[in-house]
């Protein structure tokens, strides 16, 4: 890859200023497990990298009863996967983190980086040599989309493992900039085409998750081709709250991932299951709703039809599991 300037800021404030003042050629690096691969493939050529891992104190994972869970954006996926702070319904975050890539990658990759990752596409994530045989796509500044010929926008799929369970848990993103800080619901953080709400000079600093009501259960279901290394093909994550008296679902958050340009907060599925008991008929209806969110893109080894079957299966399993977990808390 081409050479670049390398900077190690001492604080978030300094990092934000470096990103704001650095023009278009400056990028933040955290784990480097995505960024360096893209640089080696010639997909991006930054002139300056700002190493966020040089800032101490951003890798915390803390739970406090009453205030909830706080996770620093520089916590590695290994740290999240093994954290003793992620108990009860929050344990799905450890489960999700433990499935990403490989132990080697997880020791470097950060939760913030996983959320801010780019979209992926068979026609984009290739070496320069490979891409010479096709026209530059929209993402590369060209006009072609090799997935959907008539598309004028990049509609590549967003594969983050951590986004769906965090969205299902109702997480907020704390964003810092030279002007201060702001918070957004994580479900609104993603725009598509690999973009987020982060403006130039802003950084994702922390994730905030409130305590869940009693009698709440969570789940995370991931399908992929192989047990390790592979990106997911379909993710479903659910958090359900049930009434302690009759076991009916009083609240639900359902998030789907790895099937569309941004993670889906499936509000129509939530509306379907709230107020009732979870039964097979309801789950089949919910599964059909989930299929509608699958983008019709070609992926190696997985046609869109099969991906629809995967998300349907994942969604049913996720709702059943979250419901059972919620009911078991009701009994305690």
């Amino acid at each position: 890859m081409m050479n670049f300037d390398y900077l190690e800021p001492k604080s978030l404030g300094e990092a934000c200023s470096l990103l704001l003042s650095g023009g278009n050629g400056v990028r933040a690096i955290s784990g480097g497990t995505e960024l360096l691969v893209k640089m080696k493939r010639g997909l991006i050529r930054p002139q300056r990298l700002v190493n966020l891992k040089a800032i101490s104190g951003l890798d915390f994972i803390n739970y406090r009863k009453g205030s909830g869970l706080r996770i620093g954006s520089m916590a590695t996926l290994s740290d999240v996967a093994t954290s003793q702070e992620l108990k009860g319904a929050f344990h799905i975050l450890a489960g999700a983190a433990s499935k990403v890539a490989s132990p080697l990658i997880r020791n470097l990759a950060t939760i913030g980086g996983n959320l801010c990752q780019d979209v992926r596409c068979y026609y984009y994530d290739q070496s320069e040599f490979w891409r010479k045989s096709i026209e530059p796509c929209i993402k590369l500044g060209g006009t072609a989309c090799h997935q959907v010929k008539s598309s004028k926008l990049c509609i590549a799929i967003f594969y983050s493992d951590m986004a769906p369970p965090l969205i299902a848990l109702g997480a907020r993103a704390k964003i810092v900039s030279p002007d201060g800080e702001r918070r957004v619901e994580l479900k609104d953080f993603f725009i598509g085409a690999g973009d987020t709400l982060l403006k130039k000079g802003e950084l994702l600093a922390e994730l905030e998750i409130d305590d869940l009501p009693l009698c709440s259960g969570s789940s995370y279901v991931r399908h992929s081709l192989r047990e390790a290394v592979d990106y997911p093909l379909a993710i479903a994550s659910a958090v359900l709250t049930v009434s302690p008296s009759n076991g009916r679902c009083t609240d639900a958050r359902v998030a789907l991932g790895a099937i569309s340009p941004k993670p889906v907060r499936a509000e129509e599925i939530e509306g379907l299951i709230k107020g009732g008991l979870i039964n097979d008929g309801l789950l089949e209806k919910a599964a059909e709703m989930a299929k509608k969110h699958v983008a019709p893109l070609r992926e190696t080894f997985c046609a869109p039809d099969y991906r629809r079957e995967l998300i349907a299966a994942a969604l049913k399993k996720a709702i059943r599991a979250a419901y059972q977990n919620a009911l078991s808390r009701k009994e305690n």
């Binding site: 670049f4 390398y6 497990t33 490989s102």
Partner: protein, 155 residues
């Protein structure tokens, strides 16, 4: 742009002072500047694990670590494993159990296994397979590698 920066790096217990470009990965530095060729260039993309080294005791793909980011950290390569010329139990077990064919994945496998055993001295077979899931082997089919790691763990 600064062409090269000063880096003080600790590898296998020894400090080295080197001039390094920002784009130099830890793998490049180990192989090309320190001539520690145990870590291999398999894919350069963090997929094969042939470049595995321990960074502060944790196994990582050295092809995805910028060398300049390793200051104040300790690196352990396969060359640092045999203390005073005595093979580490893992190395002994790999040889005794025939777990090495072409040898390309071996250094990475052993270091991933060492990191596992350092934290979990008696792992299950499933835990062993999970620990080496980032290290690909095209020759052996993994069974003798897993057997060797389990054998070393009982020692």
């Amino acid at each position: 742009m600064d062409a090269k920066k000063q880096l003080r790096i600790k590898v296998n217990g020894e400090y080295h002072e080197l001039l390094v470009e920002a784009r130099t990965t830890l793998l490049d530095l180990l192989r090309d500047q320190l001539e520690l060729t145990g870590a291999k260039r398999g894919c350069g993309l963090g997929q094969c694990g042939a470049c595995t080294v321990l960074l502060n005791g944790r196994p990582v793909n050295s092809c995805l670590v910028l060398a300049l980011s390793t200051k104040d950290k300790e690196v352990l390569t396969i060359e640092g494993l045999a203390a005073d010329g005595t093979l580490h139990p893992l190395q002994r077990a790999f040889i005794d159990n025939g777990a090495i064919q072409c040898g390309y994945c071996t250094c990475g496998m052993i270091l991933s296994a060492k990191a596992l055993l350092d934290g979990n001295p008696r792992p299950s077979e499933e835990e062993v397979r999970e620990a080496i899931s980032g290290n690909l082997c095209r020759c052996t089919g993994y069974s003798k590698i897993v057997k060797s790691i389990l054998a070393a763990s009982e020692g």
